[in-house]
């Protein structure tokens, strides 16, 4: 289940269907592919985890997906966890004022 687009690879954790491992860049061009993986949310219950340790670039298109997934998770009495955010992700979450609103797990 690897995305053919080399700029963003999206894969599911084999033991946890609600855990996505993202590698590469999230921008206006790669966001639609990721959007498909987050709506509906992966897995049936519990935390939805985005492992973003290997995200080198993320812009407001990525931010939008994360916030929308966060709202869907809350509505389903679940939680969206941003796992091991890379420097690019941390900085964007800070600048965008989302750091305090999302569950961020440094791993």
């Amino acid at each position: 289940m690897t995305d053919p687009n080399p700029r963003l690879s999206i894969s599911s954790d084999q033991t946890d269907a609600a855990r996505l491992v993202l590698v590469g860049e999230i921008d206006a061009h790669t966001a639609p592919e990721l959007a498909g993986h987050l709506d509906p949310l992966p897995g049936d219950a519990g935390d939805v985890t985005l492992d973003v340790a290997a995200i080198e670039f993320i812009d407001s298109s990525g931010l939008r997906l994360i916030v929308e997934a966060h709202h869907r998770a809350v509505a389903a009495e679940r939680r969206l966890v941003v796992l091991r955010p890379s420097a690019a992700v941390v900085r964007l979450l800070e600048i965008s004022g989302l750091r305090d609103h999302l569950a961020v797990d440094p791993g």
């Binding site: 407001s60 939008r64 609103h101």
Partner: protein, 483 residues
């Protein structure tokens, strides 16, 4: 074998005096009556042929004609291949950049080369009913002017080839040309000997979207190869033109939309100089969702906004328009950046058609040396002092508009006389391979290098900064300088 002989004659011409003596003395050194005068190097000495039986001479003549035809085919196949490749490349490139004009010019040049026609013209119907003609560059002005004056009802083959049911119009001799009196000036002045006009259709449209005309000074028949080439050319050209026209149409709508959504002009404010810049994405078919806004508020206050809707399509431009106006009206009502952002955030999180944007809102009064600002997921502005000191204005960041998370708080900073605030969207500094901080530092260093940082100079530096091809996202910049 024949080609070897051929080479011998050509190469020996200057070296072998004995052999050539006979050739020079022959009065009719042109070997075959209908040999193309344009190819003298291929003429074989009569002495060489005279040594053989007459029927051999006939067979040789036939063989030579075949070779010539083959050469012609090979040369033109090559030209056709080049033209085909050019057209295909053009069709592909037009996705990114080509305008209809560029594509039309390339079609005219390419066709002229492939068809070896010095008189090639493309006719394009305009939306207003007139016809635009695209010629080769070296066409005389008076011919160009005469074409340009042509109306859609004029009886010339190229215009009639635009008719819905048009087929190829082939005028291959003087009599055929004479049947079109409107062509008389071209026949006389340009020395037109034959002319062919071909409608260009795309796969989807029955009505020609353009017509290609090509002429020759000497009456020229079309053989099978000619016809195959013309058919292929007209198909490729029709497709390329249609795709380009569609893209240009989309781009035109997008640009019109984008400009309609941005302020038409900036207000003049005593004690404040304002400069704004919007730069679309590098890919011209894209529309961005970046915006800037300047709002006259109560009590001599001025509201300044820069924002960015995620995504690049016509829907993000439309979304930008909605957010810009909702935000402006709440800023006008409340006067406080943080409050206006929180209300807009709540609104866009709850309406059915949700929106998502980042924005920076600033309020300042020309008479007061301070600036009040709040952000919604947006990078803070840069402050540039008269002494060229550049710093980021630290603010408590609030979440993006449409996140519904609220809690936007306004902060206050000094804005001394002569200082400028530079507000921008991430497209103005962000670069792949650089972190946000690195790219902001890069821009800050560039602004700090300006010796006399006035609003116009700062704008110019930012414009230069945006020239970098690595910065391809759309960008909006708003500069306010206290005077």
């Amino acid at each position: 074998m024949t080609s070897e002989e051929d080479a011998d004659v050509d190469e020996a011409a200057d070296l072998d005096e004995d052999d050539d003596a006979d050739v020079d003395e022959e009065p009719d050194a042109e070997p075959i009556a209908d040999q193309d005068a344009a190819r003298p190097s291929r003429a074989r000495p009569a002495r060489w042929r005279a040594a053989y039986e007459p029927d051999l001479a006939v067979r040789l003549a036939v063989a030579e004609q075949r070779i010539e035809l083959l050469e012609r085919i090979v040369t033109r196949e090559r030209a056709a291949r080049v033209a085909r490749r050019d057209l295909q490349r053009l069709a592909a490139e037009s996705v990114a950049a080509g305008s209809v004009d560029e594509v039309a010019t390339a079609i005219v040049r390419g066709s002229s080369e492939v068809l070896a026609s010095p008189l090639t013209t493309l006719a394009l119907p305009e939306p207003d009913g007139r016809i635009r003609f695209v010629h080769l560059d070296d066409i005389p002005d008076e011919v160009r002017a005469r074409w340009d004056a042509a109306t859609p009802d004029v009886e010339v083959p190229l215009v009639r080839a635009l008719d819905a049911d048009a087929t190829w119009i082939e005028l291959l001799d003087h009599d055929a040309l004479a049947a079109w009196p409107a062509l008389a000036p071209d026949v006389e002045r340009a020395g037109l000997g034959s002319y062919v006009a071909v409608p260009l259709r795309s796969r989807r449209s029955r009505v020609p979207i353009a017509a290609l005309g090509f002429g020759y000074r000497t009456p020229t028949e079309l053989d099978g190869l000619d016809r195959a080439l013309v058919a292929e050319l007209s198909e490729l050209a029709g497709e390329a033109l249609e795709r380009t026209a569609e893209l240009q149409h989309t781009r035109d709508i997008a640009e019109t939309l984008q400009h309609a959504l941005l302020p038409r002009r900036l207000p003049r404010v005593e004690g404040l100089t304002l400069r704004a810049l919007y730069r679309p994405t590098a890919e011209r078919a894209d529309v961005g969702g970046d915006w800037y806004d300047v709002i006259d508020l109560a009590d001599d206050a001025i509201g300044l906004v820069v924002g960015d809707v995620a995504g690049h399509d016509t829907s993000s431009a439309a979304e930008m328009g909605r957010i810009r106006h909702v935000l402006a009206s709440h800023l006008l009502e409340r006067g406080d950046p943080g409050e206006a952002l929180t209300i807009a955030d709540r609104y866009f999180a709850h309406v059915e058609e949700s929106s998502f944007a980042t924005a920076l809102v600033m309020v300042l009064r020309p008479s007061v040396e301070e600036i009040v600002l709040a952000t919604a997921g947006h990078p803070p502005p840069l402050l540039v002092t008269v002494a060229s000191e550049v710093s980021l204005l630290a603010i408590d960041p609030g979440p993006p508009i449409g996140s519904g998370l609220g809690g936007h708080r306004s902060g206050c900073h000094d804005l001394p006389a002569g200082a400028s605030v530079v507000a921008m969207t991430d497209g103005a500094f962000e670069r792949r391979g650089m972190t946000i901080d690195e790219s902001i530092t890069e821009l800050a260093a560039r602004l700090a290098a300006v010796p006399d940082p006035g609003p116009t100079t700062l704008l110019r530096v930012l414009r230069d900064h945006l020239e970098d091809p690595d910065r391809s996202d759309d960008a909006a910049v708003l500069i306010a300088t206290r005077t």
